[in-house]
Amino acid sequence: MSYRILVVDDSPVARKVVRRALGMTQLEIAEIYEAGSGVEALASLRSNWVDLVLCDVHMPEMNGQELVEHMKQQDDLKGTPVIIISSDTTDARRDSLLAAGADDYLHKPITPERLRAAVLCLLHPENLT
């Protein structure tokens, strides 16, 4: 199974770091799309089939929480899992995002190991080893 993943972060370097981490997870990746804000992410989601969204929290235009809330209100998007990847390590922020509908919450800096476990847990829990 290969995955199509949307990486959402306003920092180009952060997107590169996530791309690199995905490349080191040994997961089969069919396509990685990128967006610099929640608004760009929604546009990408409307034109591409995506298995998973990896999303930052603090972004201009539409932040990560607003994107999650918007996705969960849309019938065609609410089934797409979202993993938040954020520098904000407070429990309150994590709880807030999970309550809004995010499926998991990872702290930056991410590691390929934690990313792989989170992706498999959501998309293929039977393969989680």
Binding site: V13, A92, K108
Partner: protein
């Protein structure tokens, strides 16, 4: 207030050390607070708003050569990296350091807001406090903290 900022700056140094170890495999030690950070260096700052602290600014400064090494580590590059990537990496790092710092100082249950990181070209403001760190191979870097309006 200055004593409090000085104490908080050591929490900031711990947060920076943890982030650098996890993300860049750099081990750091706290160095003499009066030590200088020789030019040229790259600095970035970010605003941190919490429910239980004054508005704080977190600053991270690193010598250019070390900034290049950190960028190579983050991007998995062994060759030259673009100057823009180096600047963006340091800006991203101050963001991550501020987030790790928030976990140490924000009361459980309280939210914080981390602004957009920006490169700093102006001098550090008076009234803040900082900690010099050195990597295990002796390269200096500095974290600095100040309260807005102080």
């Amino acid at each position: 207030m200055n004593d409090e900022i000085s104490l908080l700056s050591h929490s900031l140094a711990r947060a920076a050390s943890r982030v650098l170890m996890e993300g860049s495999f750099l081990f750091t030690l706290e160095a003499d607070e009066d030590a200088e950070l020789p030019a040229p260096f790259i600095a970035a700052r970010v605003q941190l708003r919490t429910e239980d602290q004054p508005v704080l600014w977190v600053d991270f400064s690193v010598q250019e050569a070390l900034a290049v090494e950190i960028t190579q580590s983050h991007l998995g590059e062994t060759g030259p990296v673009e100057a823009e990537d180096v600047r963006n990496t340091i800006a991203e790092l101050v963001n991550v350091i501020a987030g790790a710092f928030a976990r140490l100082v924000v009361a459980p249950g309280n939210l914080c807001s981390i602004g957009s990181p920006m490169l700093r070209t102006e001098a550090l403001p008076e009234g803040g406090a900082g900690v010099m760190l050195t990597t295990d191979n002796g390269q200096p870097l500095r974290v600095w903290l100040w309260a807005e309006g102080q």
